[in-house]
């Protein structure tokens, strides 16, 4: 898979407090906010039918199963984190065309959601959304 450029956000899963308390272990059943994990929009046919990245014109988003590793780079600072698939998401089609920039570094469309542990390794949780690139190496 060639590096995919887009937006990264974060989500909670597993045992959690507050509104996240009902999050559960995700589509793979293993998701935990404290682990280096992520949600990927194309983990299965059923997942892809929900996330629909193609509706935003995204091609090259390969089918990857639970445990597959991706490496996400925050385009604002170059920080990079490796994570394993633990859930289906984000729901890309709900934000088609959305664009996030840091100066001239931009990403369009939501392509990956990281757990709080993983996102906070490359950005402050209070940023909520960052332009990113995602690769398999």
């Amino acid at each position: 898979m060639a590096a995919l450029r887009g937006e990264v956000s974060w989500f909670c899963c597993g045992s959690a407090w507050g509104p996240c308390g009902s999050a559960g272990g995700g589509a793979c059943g293993t998701c935990s906010s404290g682990n280096y994990q992520h949600a990927w929009p194309n983990t299965s046919d059923a997942c892809l039918a929900i996330t629909r990245p193609h509706a935003c014109g995204i091609t090259g988003m390969s089918r990857r199963g639970c445990g597959f590793r991706h490496y996400t780079t925050n385009l604002c600072n170059g920080a990079r984190v490796g994570t394993a698939i633990a859930d289906c998401g984000p729901q890309t089609d709900l934000f088609c065309g959305e664009r996030t920039c840091c100066g001239s570094a931009c990403g369009s469309n939501r392509i990956i959601d990281l757990t709080p542990a993983a996102y906070s390794a490359i950005a402050s949780l209070s940023t909520g959304l960052r332009p990113c690139s995602v690769n398999t190496v």
Binding site: C12, W17, P19, V81, P116, S120, A121, A123, S124, L125
Partner: protein, 198 residues
């Protein structure tokens, strides 16, 4: 000098009672600070330098936190710790019962010397069920969340455009991402930022 090692030594010094000036850690801009952290955790594995849970006790500059998985964490707040609770804020605004995520450096005694603490932060994907005066009623995983608009703080980002305080374009039925701060033990949050598709 390696910036990561330098930062870790500063945090450890602060955690052990040394003096760290704001200038010492503040020399790194927020994004640069995260870029400076080395990542050595295996994909899929838990990060020992990260903790989450609810604050059970505050003693001096130490937070005693019970993780959602029941693991206990001792989290030390240093002069260099950044604290977020709807806004960037100070240690005196942190309270027993608050939820948190924390990132820092795990010391040999198991204490986490915190680099950053996000108190009560939530990042919810939801649908707008109703819009009231300075409040959004959200459907989040089948449960109702009452999201308060906070004057001079809450902002809306419409399809990636710059954040604005005007919430008038938010419509019932639309999907939103809401970054905010939870009111402990309630179904209410304060809104920091609402991300909405156009």
């Amino acid at each position: 000098m390696d910036q990561t090692l330098d930062r870790r030594r500063l945090l450890a010094t602060a955690a052990l009672g040394g003096v760290v000036t704001a200038t010492g850690l503040g020399s790194l801009a927020p994004e640069a600070a995260f870029a400076a952290e080395a990542t050595t955790v295996e994909p899929g594995a838990p990060d020992p330098n990260f903790a989450e849970g609810r604050i059970g006790k505050i003693t001096g500059n130490m937070l005693l936190v019970t993780g959602s998985d029941t693991v206990l964490h001792s989290i030390r707040i240093t002069d260099g710790t950044s604290i977020w609770k709807l806004h960037p804020t100070t240690f005196d605004r942190v309270a027993v019962g608050d939820g948190l995520y924390a990132r820092g450096v795990r010391l040999p005694d198991g204490t986490l010397a915190a680099d950053a603490v996000w108190v009560n932060i939530v990042n919810l994907h939801a649908h707008i069920a109703a819009v009231g005066r300075n409040v959004l009623h959200l459907d989040h995983k089948g449960r109702r969340i009452v999201a308060h608009v906070v004057p001079d703080r809450s902002a809306a980002v419409y399809n990636g455009t710059p954040a604005v305080s005007d919430m008038s374009l938010l419509r019932v039925g639309r999907h939103v991402q809401v970054l905010g701060a939870w009111h402990p033990d309630t179904n209410e949050i304060d809104i920091a930022t609402v991300y909405a598709a156009a």
